[in-house]
Point group: C2
Chain length 493, copies 2
C-alpha cells in the first residue's frame, strides 16, 4: 500500500472525516453489505478484547457472573413495560418467518409463506424483558438475592444514520442485569457499576469522565434513574461512555418477579441494568488520537512495542535480528506485548508511518550504528519524541515509558476536560461557549420544555446532573426560574 493511502484528513480541517479516515485506514472496522452493520476487523477487535478483559475482571471482582440469554424476544414481552416499549420496540429487526424455499420459477430462494411465526420475534435491542421473564423462575426467596449477572452479547437497533463504532445497527456490548431485595441495595448497585465504568475509563482508557444522573427525558426507557459517565472528545462534543440504570420495581412488576422477604411477605424484586459497548472504541479514538493516526493507551494497545530493524544487507539484518530478538524476549518476560517486524518488502519509513497510524505506544529502531554502540532508538507515540538509549536494561526503561505514556495521555485528556468545562450564567454566553467547543455548566429550571428548547436552539443536550458540583441553587439561564444546581450541557455523539 502506498504511503499516501495512509494519510488522514487533518482534525482541524474536518474532524468527522478524520475520524472516519482513521477507523478505515488503521484497519479497525468497515461498513458491511448489510445496512448499518459493521465488520470489526482484527485490529479493532483486538482492542475490544483488551477492553473486555479488563471490564470482565472488574465485574467478577464486584461479584458478578456471566450467563447467556436468547437473541430473540417475543414481541409481547416488549410491551409489558410501558416506557420500555416506547423507547425500544419502534426501530428493531423483526423475525416473522422461519424458512426459505426455492422459488417455483427457479429464480432463487424466497420466504416460505407457510412458515410464518405465530408471534413475531424481535432481535434484542437490550435484554431486560427476556431476562426478567427468566428471573421469575429463579427468584423465590430473599436468599436467592442479590442475583448479579452479566451478559456479553450482540444487540440490534435499527438506526437510520450510522457511524462506525459510534452508532451502528448491530453492536457488541455487555449488559448487567441484577435483582435485589431492597430499593437501597439496587440503588447502591447502580451507583457501584457507574463507578466501575468511570474507573475503567480513567485507568484503562486514560479517559477522564464526568459522572452524573440523566434528566427525565434522557434516561433509559423503563428506568427510575439513569447514571452516566460522559467523556469529552477532542472536538468538545460529549460521548456517553457507559450507563447504569436503577429500574425500581418496574420490571419486577411487569414480569411478576416476586420473592418472600425475611418477614415472610411477598415483594417485587428491585432491578438494575448497566451497559457499555463497542462505542467505547470510538471514544478511545476521539480522546487521544492525532493527525498521524491512533494514539492508544498502553493498557489497551494490542501490541505495546514494535521493533523495526534498519539494515543495509542480509548479514547486518542477521546481527540486528539477534539483538532485537533478545530485547523482545526481555520485554515479553515483563508481560509486555512486542512485535519484531523484519518483513523485507517494506522500508523502515513505511513501517514507521504504519505503526504510528496503528498507535503502537513505543517503537524501537535498531540500526548498524546501534549495534556498534549497544544502543536503541526509542520513539514514544504520544509525543512523537525520540531518544537513544543503551540496550542494557532497556526492558525496564520501556516498562517505565509505557506507564508514563498511560499517565501522560490521561493528563492531557484531563487538562482538556478541565479547561474546556465552564460555568455560564446567560443564554448568550451558553451559545457562544458551545460554539467554541465547551462543556457547559448552567442553571436549568428542571423542566423538559426548557431542555427541549435548548436542544432545538443549540443542538446541545443535557448530558447529566453532575454527581459532584457546588450544589448551589440559582436561576435558569433560559426562563429565569429557580434551579437546584448547575447541570451539564454539551453537543454529543
Amino acid at each position: 500500500m502506498a504511503k499516501e493511502l495512509k494519510e488522514l484528513t487533518p482534525r482541524d480541517e474536518n474532524y468527522s472525516q478524520w475520524y472516519q479516515d482513521l477507523v478505515i485506514k488503521a484497519d479497525l472496522a468497515e461498513n458491511s453489505a448489510v445496512r448499518g452493520c459493521m465488520v470489526i476487523k482484527p485490529y479493532g477487535y483486538a482492542i475490544w478484547e483488551k477492553m473486555q478483559g479488563y471490564l470482565d475482571g472488574m465485574f467478577k471482582a464486584t461479584g458478578h457472573t456471566n450467563a447467556y440469554f436468547p437473541l430473540l424476544i417475543p414481541k409481547s414481552f416488549m410491551s409489558k413495560e410501558a416506557d420500555h416499549i416506547e423507547g425500544f420496540a419502534k426501530e428493531c429487526a423483526v423475525v416473522t418467518h422461519y424458512r426459505l424455499k426455492n422459488a417455483a420459477d427457479g429464480s432463487g430462494v424466497i420466504v416460505d409463506p407457510g412458515a410464518r411465526l405465530e408471534e413475531e420475534l424481535i432481535i434484542r435491542p437490550t435484554s431486560e424483558t427476556i431476562i426478567w421473564n427468566t428471573y421469575r423462575n429463579w427468584i423465590r426467596s430473599y436468599r436467592d438475592l442479590p442475583l448479579l449477572i452479566n451478559q456479553w452479547a450482540n444487540v440490534m437497533r435499527w438506526e437510520m444514520r450510522t457511524r462506525l463504532f459510534l452508532r451502528t445497527a448491530e453492536f457488541l456490548w455487555q449488559e448487567g442485569h441484577t435483582a435485589h431485595a431492597t430499593r437501597r441495595e439496587a440503588e447502591e448497585e447502580a451507583l457501584r457499576m457507574q463507578n466501575v465504568y468511570a474507573e475503567f475509563a480513567r485507568e484503562c482508557m486514560a479517559m477522564p469522565v464526568i459522572r452524573g444522573r440523566k434528566s427525565d427525558s434522557e434516561r433509559f426507557a423503563g428506568a427510575i434513574d439513569t447514571y452516566t459517565i460522559e467523556a469529552m472528545m477532542q472536538d468538545g462534543k460529549a460521548l456517553q461512555a457507559g450507563t447504569s440504570h436503577f429500574l425500581g420495581q418496574n420490571f419486577g412488576k411487569a414480569f411478576e418477579v416476586t420473592f418472600l422477604n425475611k418477614e415472610g411477605k411477598t415483594e417485587y424484586a428491585w432491578a438494575t441494568s448497566w451497559g457499555a459497548s463497542t462505542r467505547l472504541i470510538g471514544a478511545l479514538i476521539m480522546s487521544h488520537s492525532d493527525d498521524n493516526g491512533l494514539v492508544l493507551p498502553p493498557k489497551l494497545a494490542p501490541t505495546q512495542v514494535v521493533i523495526v530493524p534498519i539494515y543495509r544487507n542480509a548479514e547486518q539484518l542477521g546481527q540486528i535480528s539477534e539483538r532485537a530478538e533478545a530485547i523482545a524476549t526481555r520485554l515479553k518476560a515483563l508481560g509486555i506485548t512486542v512485535k519484531y517486524d523484519a518483513s523485507d518488502n517494506k522500508k523502515p519509513g513505511w513501517k514507521f508511518a504504519e505503526y504510528e497510524l496503528k498507535g503502537i505506544p513505543v517503537r524501537l529502531g535498531l540500526g548498524g550504528r546501534d549495534l556498534e554502540n549497544n544502543t536503541v532508538e526509542v520513539m514514544r507515540r504520544d509525543l512523537l519524541r525520540k531518544e537513544t538509549l543503551s540496550c542494557d536494561g532497556i526492558e525496564r526503561q520501556v516498562q517505565a515509558l509505557l506507564e508514563d505514556i498511560q499517565g501522560n495521555i490521561y493528563q492531557k485528556a484531563l487538562q482538556r476536560l478541565t479547561s474546556r468545562t465552564i460555568e455560564v450564567d446567560t443564554y448568550e454566553a451558553f451559545k457562544s461557549r458551545l460554539e467554541e467547543g465547551f462543556f457547559i455548566l448552567a442553571h436549568w429550571d428542571g423542566s423538559p420544555e426548557t431542555e427541549e428548547r435548548i436542544k432545538n436552539d443549540t443542538k446541545a443536550t443535557l448530558r447529566c446532573i453532575p454527581a459532584e458540583g457546588d450544589g448551589l441553587p440559582g436561576r435558569c439561564i433560559v426562563t429565569g426560574r429557580p434551579s437546584a444546581g448547575r447541570v451539564l450541557f454539551a453537543r454529543a455523539y
Copy 2:
C-alpha cells in the same frame, strides 16, 4: 432446596432423562420462552468460558486473530453457493421488517407493514457467505494471504427437535474462516484445525476422539472435504465434537475473491472453515458424569476445590474457618480455584451432595477432629473416594490430585472408546453390536445408497473415514462390493 430435588434419573434407567435432569439440576442451562433457544445459566456459562479460554489460546498460537462480522446475511448471499443454500437456508430465522408500531385499536404493538425490508435478511446459521463477501475487498495479492480469522458468535438454525446444548435453535460457537493462496496450504490448515480440536478434546476435556473425514453425504454444505472429531458418549452413541472444512475455491468463486499470485496471474482464493460450539458442554457431560451428578475435568471446572467446614458451634466454626482460609490461600497461590463454603443455612451433608452434583473435582472437609490432628478429609469426585491427609503441604497434594483426576477420567473414557470400538464383517454382527452400544468399523462400498440403507435399517450413520486405520481393502458388509478400507459407523447425537 430439599435433597430429593437433586436426585437424578439413573443412567441405566433412562440415559436421555438422566442427561436432561443433570443439565437442569446442576444449573447449567434451561429452555427459554423462545422455542428452541436456551438460557445458559452462570454455571454452564462458566464452563463455556473455560473452554473459550483454552480454544482461543490455541487459535492464537496457530496464528489466528479474532474479528466480528454481521449477524444478518442478505438472502441473496445464501444462494450464491449452490450446495450451501441447500444445506442451510431452508430452516432459518428471517427478518422481514424493521419497525413495530402501536396497533390502531390500542391492543399493543404490531409489525409496521410500511417497514418491510427490500431484501429479507437471514440470521446467520454460519458465516461463510457474509465473510467471503467481505474478503473480496481484503484480498488483492498473495501477500495478503493467508488470512487467518476466527469469530466468536451466536448462530441460529431453526431446529424442530431441540435438546439443551446438543441441538438448539440458537447456540454459541466459534467459526474460523481462512483464505489461502494454494490448495495445499488450505488443506493443511483444515487438517491443522482438526488436530487443534482433537488436542483440545484430549487435553482439556479429557475426551478421546476419533479423527476422520466425512463421507460425501455427511460433509458440510459447500465443502470439498469435512474433517471431524467423533467422541463416544457413555451410551455408545457418537457426538461430533468439532469439524474443519476444506472448501476448495467454492466460496472464492461464488464471491469472486481473487488475488494476484507470485507469477502475476489472477487466481481464486482457497478456503477453510472450522467450528466448535456449546454442544461441547453436552459432550463433556456425557463423557464423564455419573448418577451423582457432573464429573468435570479439573482444567474445565470453574471451581476446582471446595472446602466445607463441619462444626458444632460458632466458636469451632471460627477456628475451622481460620484453618480453611489458610489452606485456600495456599491453593490459590498455585493457581487453583477454590471456594470456601461456610454458609450457615445448609448442612454439610447437603453441601456434599450439592458439590458432587456440580462436579467440583476435589472436596476438602474440615471438622473438629481435623483441627486437633492437623488433618483434612480429601474427597475426589471422579472416584468418590475419601482419604485423610495432613494439612502440611496439602496444597501440593491437591495439585497432584487434580492432575491425577484429569488423567484418570481421560483414561476411563479412552478405555471405553477402545473397548467398545469393534470391527465387524457381517451386517448381522453390525446390527447386534450396534444395539450393544459399540462403535463399528466395517467395510462399505463407498456409495451414498448403501450409507442411506444402513441409516434407514439401523439408525447408524457413517461418522467418518478414520484418519488412522489399517487401510486394508475388503468387501462391503451390505452389498459385498469392494471397499477401500473400514469406516466408522455409530448412532449419533
